[in-house]
């Protein structure tokens, strides 16, 4: 493939044989750059933006919703607008997000049976298991079994709602605030909010796991 598509990948192409899909993506990128549809700099910027997002972003939002009822209401009504209040100003160009609140009676689980749709700009890249055919097929047919394998057993009487997301709207679970966190600050609470609890395969951490 062409080595002259606008920028170099030092050390990558030469000391390691690229796999089929990596070579295919490189070839497509090279064609798009040659045709002037994207520039190498744009690709690098998008990759960097994607890598900059982590579950800590989602955790901040959940912790604010736990401590600020007004924010929580705005988040549930229009997540993009509410998240913009927290400084995610580029959110206009990103997929819409709907936040699903877990309660004493309802637990939500997110999956994308078609591919790997995920609220990437709030959680970073999805974990490999989220993209696996196993999770994608079993999360809809046997959500309780899947959650059990993640160590999550729901209380008697809790209904499971599985959200099968596609590209236009992404779903983020607002987990329940752990008991024993009365008086905790937003920053302290955010430490309890795991990626998996925002996908719905587990609960947030308990205070005992982060104190002492």
């Amino acid at each position: 493939m062409s080595e002259s598509h606008g920028h170099e990948h030092p050390g990558m192409a030469h000391d390691e044989e690229l796999g089929y899909y990596a070579r295919r993506v490189r070839a497509m990128e090279a064609v798009l750059v040659e045709k002037g549809i994207v520039s190498g700099e744009e690709v690098e910027r998008l990759v960097a933006e994607g890598e900059a997002r982590t579950p800590a972003d989602g955790a901040r939002i959940v912790a604010r919703a736990w401590t600020d009822p007004g924010f929580k209401n705005r988040l549930l009504a229009d997540a993009k607008a509410a998240v913009a209040e927290m400084g995610y100003s580029e959110s206009e160009s990103l997929p819409d997000v709907v936040v699903a609140e877990n309660t004493d009676g309802v637990h939500h689980l997110v999956v994308c049976t078609l591919c790997s749709c995920y609220p990437t700009w709030l959680l970073g890249r999805p974990p490999d298991w989220y993209k696996s055919l196993t999770y994608r097929s079993r999360a809809v047919i046997d959500p309780r079994g899947v959650m059990g394998e993640f160590g999550l057993e729901l209380e008697e009487g809790v209904v499971v709602k599985v959200l099968d997301s596609t590209a236009d709207v992404r779903y983020l679970v607002l987990p329940q605030r752990p008991a024993g966190t009365e008086g905790w600050s937003e920053v302290e609470l955010a430490r309890l909010v795991t990626r998996d609890s925002m996908v719905g395969v587990s609960r947030p951490l308990t205070p005992e796991t982060v104190v002492g």
Binding site: V98, V140, R144, V159, V160, L163, D164, V169
Partner: protein, 99 residues
Amino acid sequence: MPMAEQQPKFGAGDRVRVRCLNVKGHNRTPWFIRGKVGTVERCHGAYPNPESLAYGGSGEPAMPLYLVEFSQRQLWEGYEGREGDKLLADVFEHWLEPA
């Protein structure tokens, strides 16, 4: 949220059946809800039609997209969860008819 180019046909609480359209190629309607009856939970607004976008089309006209709730017991024979368990999926309006 994008503006609807047309007034959404369905509203929250409406009963709808997922049509078994013979769409060749890319579409976003999972097979396991086709022919099934569910309840509209909300309309998200209108989005470019992915069946056109996937092949270089404009996606126009944008189509209303709904979050539709189904009973898990209805979707899967031998479903082992609870009676009230639900599955919710996003479905474009042309895939839905009143039920």
